[in-house]
Amino acid sequence: MTRVWSRGAHHTGRPSMLTLNNVEVMYDNVILVLKGMSMAVPQGKIVALLGSNGAGKSTTLKAISGLLKAEDGAVTDGDINFEGQRIDNQSADAIVRRGIFQVMEGRRVFEHLTTEENLLAGSYIRRDRQNIKRDLSLVYDYFPQLMKLQKRTAGYLSGGEQQMLAIGRGLMARPKLLLLDEPSLGLSPLLVREIFEIIRRINQEEKTTILLVEQSATMALGIADYGYIMENGKIVLEGTAEKLRDNEDVKEFYLGLTEVGKKKSYREVKHYKRRKRWLS
């Protein structure tokens, strides 16, 4: 197998675990959503993928995990490589078996199953059944709240508890790469901070590589090593988390550090800035 080196790998000098090269995605054979999307996720890192509503973040994750096919979507151009092998033509269950697990947007817990059964469902692809008990307690270590909810029907858990369950379910698969789609959705700022801290610990302690999709950049760039900003189906800006945090445009548009203005896209911000520079 040939190792795939791509532009995203430059920031680490190592081959990336996951690369997307000019990926194009269409839904229903007509709706073009990803329009030449390229990015890379190096092993062991946390990479943030940021962008506003409808930018195509979830679509990117589904293209990687193969869940796209269940929604009449398809990768129509470009390629996706994981550990040096093409995965864009593989089925979702084969991709999970390779070690990529997507925690879907909106939590999607199995409502009529108990907390523990949800976690066990996450371990479906595991062959080493003898380690499942140990990993259940690992999940309860990360999310102590779930411990006392073991036998509770998951549909009745609070939004925060469900989000923890959704991430815990991902841990149970022991993936090499965890794709998290807006884990902060609908949670209080305090809870978001707690969950992000746990995500950071999972990355460090379990050595799980993480691709984190978020709309709110502040928290995501707080724990990420590297960030991509996408808009309208492609990447418009990338850099180390530190650089992005300091970037004026990002600050203005995504971190909300300037006065609340009318909604502008990142591109407009950029144009506006450029024009200003030209004029001055």
Partner: protein, 294 residues
């Protein structure tokens, strides 16, 4: 008193078989929201297969049933693959219509292979009745009840504890989320149909032992519909409890009311019970309620 106990015991026996057949319905409904109208034919095919292995291939009882189970499992999975899978994504009603078509097709095939005569099982279980404190029960009944109970317990355990069972319930809850765990929906559906066919085979063999094997076995498959609706179409414990409730009440109604009203109550009783319970609990006794959090 003895008469009452007698009625209850035969109610339990028939209830156990109801529960098994109901479980077949529930499995499929839970997985795919489809009511399988060919369930009765599955019973009949199972019984015929077992008889064929028993009488034509001269196998002993247990290997014959295992043989029938094997064929039934393959058949169940094949039905899913050929009849139902092409319809995934189509309206549920098309799938239900497909099972009605399947029912007629299977019935035709059954006649081609095995004719319409009643076939009877050779005496497999000990025949003498035994006396349980005044209640005389044929041993066939006790064996049937025992086997039904063991199977029901096994199935409950499978769905509650085994990873495949949990995966199947997860798929019933949210197919895409299940897919995101690496659970193949195709595999889950195929296993569902295979299990439903297997459990119907056992039901068919037990009933066939009691009543003989003919087309009335297939009708039994539909008689179970009130049981499933009573228990809640998607509830495994519901199918089990519903089976026993209907079995017992039907026998009691038959024993006490038929003589007074001149017959027929036994047949109607399940439906009357059904209507009463649905008026109180629209999802059935154990049916899945739509979870709404505020």
């Amino acid at each position: 008193m003895v008469f009452l106990l007698q009625l209850i015991v035969s109610g339990l026996v028939i209830g156990g078989v109801y529960a098994l057949v109901a479980l077949g319905f529930v499995l499929i409904y839970k997985a795919s929201d489809v009511i399988n109208f060919a369930q009765g034919e599955f019973l009949l095919i199972g019984a015929h297969l077992a008889l064929t292995f028993l009488l034509v291939f001269n196998l002993p009882f247990i290997p014959a049933v295992l043989g029938a189970l094997t064929v039934a499992v393959v058949l169940g999975a094949a039905v899913e693959r050929v009849v139902l899978r092409p319809l995934i994504g189509e309206p549920i009603i098309s799938m239900i219509m497909a099972t009605i078509g399947l029912s007629s097709a299977l019935r035709g095939l059954l006649q081609v292979f095995w004719g319409t005569e009643t076939r009877t099982f050779p005496n497999i279980f000990p025949q003498d009745a035994i006396n349980l404190g005044g209640v005389v029960v044929s041993q066939v009944y006790l064996w049937s009840l025992g086997i039904a109970l063991v199977l029901l317990a096994l199935f409950s355990f499978f769905f509650k504890r085994s990873i495949m069972g949990i995966a199947m319930r997860a798929t019933a809850d949210d197919q895409q989320a299940a897919l995101s765990m690496g659970i193949s929906v195709k595999v889950a559906f195929a296993v569902t149909w295979a299990l439903a066919a297997a459990i119907s085979t056992v039901g068919g063999v037990l009933l066939g032992n009691i009543n003989g094997v003919n087309i009335s076995l297939a009708h039994f498959g539909l008689k179970v519909l009130p049981v499933v609706i009573l228990g809640g179409l998607d509830s495994i414990p519901g199918a089990i409890v519903g089976g026993f409730i209907i079995g017992i009440l039907e026998n009691l109604a038959g024993g006490y009311l038929d003589p007074l009203l001149g017959g027929g109550v036994k047949e109607v009783a399940p439906f009357i019970i059904l209507v009463l319970i649905l008026m109180l609990k629209p999802y059935g006794l154990f049916g899945k309620q739509v979870i709404e959090r505020v």
